[in-house]
């Protein structure tokens, strides 16, 4: 299964890029300070808004900060926000969705109602309101808020999946061995939701990164940390585009897009695994077989 998962170019490309970003998030700040000796926060009063040069590989912002350093450190903040949001969101979704699906009855009704309430709440607007309240508590806080308001969508899908799994024969069979509910949930049902959960997780991750960027754009990110979103926001406030400072405006957006794209590619792979009907033969193989057939027929004559 793992091998099959890794076989497509999309998944491999996606994973590679994604892991690169993870590495960047993990080691970026250290790399910046110890190897490149640049700081994302230091302001170089004497070289403001300079295009890429040897001193500043990606140029500087309007307040003389090094764009490259910001880009590298920004990776961590953006990814932490995405990670926290998706870990939290997915965990709640799994907890609520699987519990509701397995338990049924009153528990199910209550949890479903809760899900629906969260679905109808103006999530982004509330996130916007609340993250204003937290006064830029950093990516973790932003991630938590995004997670808390973003879990409901996936929950319904998980619940209905669990409902259908609950009555699958193998679960019934294990139940008739006297298996406990918790074990049924964890050992029999949950592994089958891995595809869904990981897709949800990855979707949530991208959603989290994008939401953090959106909030940063609205001025709600932490002021002391640099994230890609806050970079775009500052570039916008600094009229980077009008001033032709593409080196400031473009990289963070492209990074988010690249990260999002890599995750989406991985998701393609997961999708194909969880829905085998989406897998189709490599066109080239089919064509080759057909051509061979035609040739064979010719030579037969």
């Amino acid at each position: 299964m793992v091998l099959r998962f890794l076989s497509g170019w999309k998944v491999r490309a996606g994973l590679t890029v994604f892991l690169l970003f993870c590495l960047l998030a993990l080691l970026g700040p250290w790399f910046c300070s110890s190897v490149l000796h640049i700081s994302p926060t230091a302001l170089d009063v004497d070289s403001v808004s300079t295009p890429p040069s040897a001193g500043h590989l990606l140029g500087t912002t309007a307040s003389g900060q090094d764009v490259l350093a910001q880009l590298i450190t920004g990776a961590r903040q953006s990814m932490i926000a995405g990670l926290v949001a998706s870990v939290l969101g997915t965990s709640i979704a799994v907890l609520v969705g699987v519990t509701a699906g397995l338990a049924g009855g009153v528990v199910d009704s209550v949890l479903t109602a809760l899900t629906n309430v969260f679905l109808t709440m103006p999530a982004f607007a509330l996130i916007f309101v609340i993250s204003g309240y937290t006064q830029g508590g950093g990516p973790v806080v932003i991630g938590i808020i995004i997670g808390i308001f973003g879990w409901a969508g996936g929950t319904r899908a998980l619940r209905s999946q669990t409902l259908s799994l609950r009555n699958r024969d193998f679960v019934v069979a294990m139940r008739m061995l006297g298996e406990s509910r918790v074990r049924l949930a964890l050992v029999e049902v949950l592994p089958h939701l891995i595809g869904w959960i990981s897709a949800m997780f990855l979707g949530g991750f991208v959603g989290g990164v994008l939401a953090e960027a959106g909030l940063a754009f609205l001025g709600l990110s932490s002021a002391s940390t640099v994230s890609w979103g806050s970079m775009i926001s500052e570039a916008q406030q600094g009229n980077a585009l009008l001033g032709g400072m593409w080196w400031w405006f473009a990289p963070p957006g492209l990074c988010i897009a690249l990260l999002g794209a890599s995750v989406t590619l991985v998701n393609f792979g997961i999708d194909e695994i969880s829905n085998p009907r989406l897998r189709n033969a490599r066109r080239t193989l089919v064509r080759r077989a057909r051509q061979a057939a035609v040739k064979g027929a010719d030579s037969d004559e």
Binding site: F170, V171, V172, M174, L177, G178
Partner: protein, 333 residues
């Protein structure tokens, strides 16, 4: 019938409430006043059309639902739906083999996992590994070490079904409920499985409930056949009696419709398909016909068939039926 029933259903009825698209609800009357007994070392076959309630009865035996009325008795003791360790105690005596061997094993778990869980849950305290191999041997999955580590997708349908049976046997049950255990298997492998079930019954003294569509296989395996139609038991008795001398018009229809190549023996070389009269379809269980539910399709239906369900008429050899045709007779006699 010498010894008392191990497991019996006493006058059970089952109703389901279903929800329609716009939240409408309706009641499915899936079983009506069904009684059935399973005895040690004997097989009862339950045959009937799709949707007649066979699975529902099996599930009632497996305590997956609480019957709407009536009760399930284990060795004469009424049992109800339970949880936790009491459920486990019940399941250590009653086990079920499901229809679809492809669905009844978790694709993520090995044969070993399945067997070990079964043994662990039922407090097996001997040599676990040894017992697992023994179980696999019991269901003829040999050499056992080849099979124990396999995942379901590495097994054929017949092998999976054997694993299911081994898993059920792991708890050393007294009763085995087979819900169409062979219908999903390849033709060539069905008989082997039936033979396996027969040997388990004979050697372990299992009480076996064999649910099937295929009346011929019922005859092959079971001593006793019960025919179910639209949630009601309409006929039952010793297998040969029911097959060779069907009483109820539905049983007759079923036998007529069942493929039997032997019928063409006389007409050599030429296909001679035996057509049957267009007898309509089984009714919806949401609003089933009153009285005997078979009456709309019955060629010999009488007025009373529409109004009331006939009482049971039994012959000396244990062959019984619920049909007005015979009720009046017995009353007359």
């Amino acid at each position: 019938m010498p010894d008392p029933a191990v497991l019996e259903a006493v006058d059970v009825s089952m109703r389901f409430t279903v929800r329609g698209g716009l939240g409408r609800t309706a009641t499915v009357r899936a079983l009506e006043h069904v009684s059935l007994r399973l005895h040690r070392g004997r097989t009862v076959a339950l045959v009937g059309e799709s949707g007649s309630g066979k699975t529902t009865l099996a599930r009632l035996f497996a305590l997956m639902y609480q019957p709407t009325s009536g009760e399930i008795r284990l060795r004469g003791e009424p049992v109800g739906v339970r949880r936790g360790s009491t459920a486990r105690a019940y399941y250590s005596e009653v086990q079920m083999v499901l229809q679809d061997p492809f669905a009844s094993l978790n694709p993520m778990h090995t044969v070993r996992h399945n067997l070990r869980r079964a043994l662990r849950l039922h407090h097996f305290d001997g040599d676990l590994e040894e017992r697992m191999h023994e179980l696999l041997r019991r269901v003829s999955l040999t050499p056992t070490q080849d099979f124990i580590g396999k995942l379901p997708h590495e097994l054929s349908g017949g092998q999976r079904q054997r694993v299911s049976i081994a898993r059920a046997l792991a708890v050393a049950p007294k009763v085995l409920l087979g819900d169409e255990p062979i219908s999903m298997l390849d033709v060539s492998m069905r008989l082997d499985l039936l033979n396996l079930l027969a040997s388990l019954r004979d050697e372990e003294g299992l009480a076996l409930l064999y649910i099937t569509h295929d009346i011929a296989s019922a005859r092959y395996l079971a001593e006793e056949i019960c025919v179910m139609y639209a949630g009601q038991l309409v006929e039952g008795g010793p297998a040969e009696q029911v097959i060779q001398n069907p009483q109820h018009p539905y049983t007759k229809l079923l036998l007529e419709a069942s493929p039997d190549p032997a019928r063409t023996v006389s007409a050599a070389g030429q296909s001679s398909f035996l057509p049957i009269a267009d007898a309509g379809e089984p009714p919806s269980l949401i609003d089933p016909p009153g009285g005997c539910r078979f009456h709309p399709r019955c060629p010999v239906a009488k007025a009373e068939c529409r109004t009331a369900f006939p009482a049971r008429t039994s012959a000396a050899d244990g062959h019984w039926t619920n049909c007005w045709l015979y009720t009046s007779e017995s009353e007359a006699s």
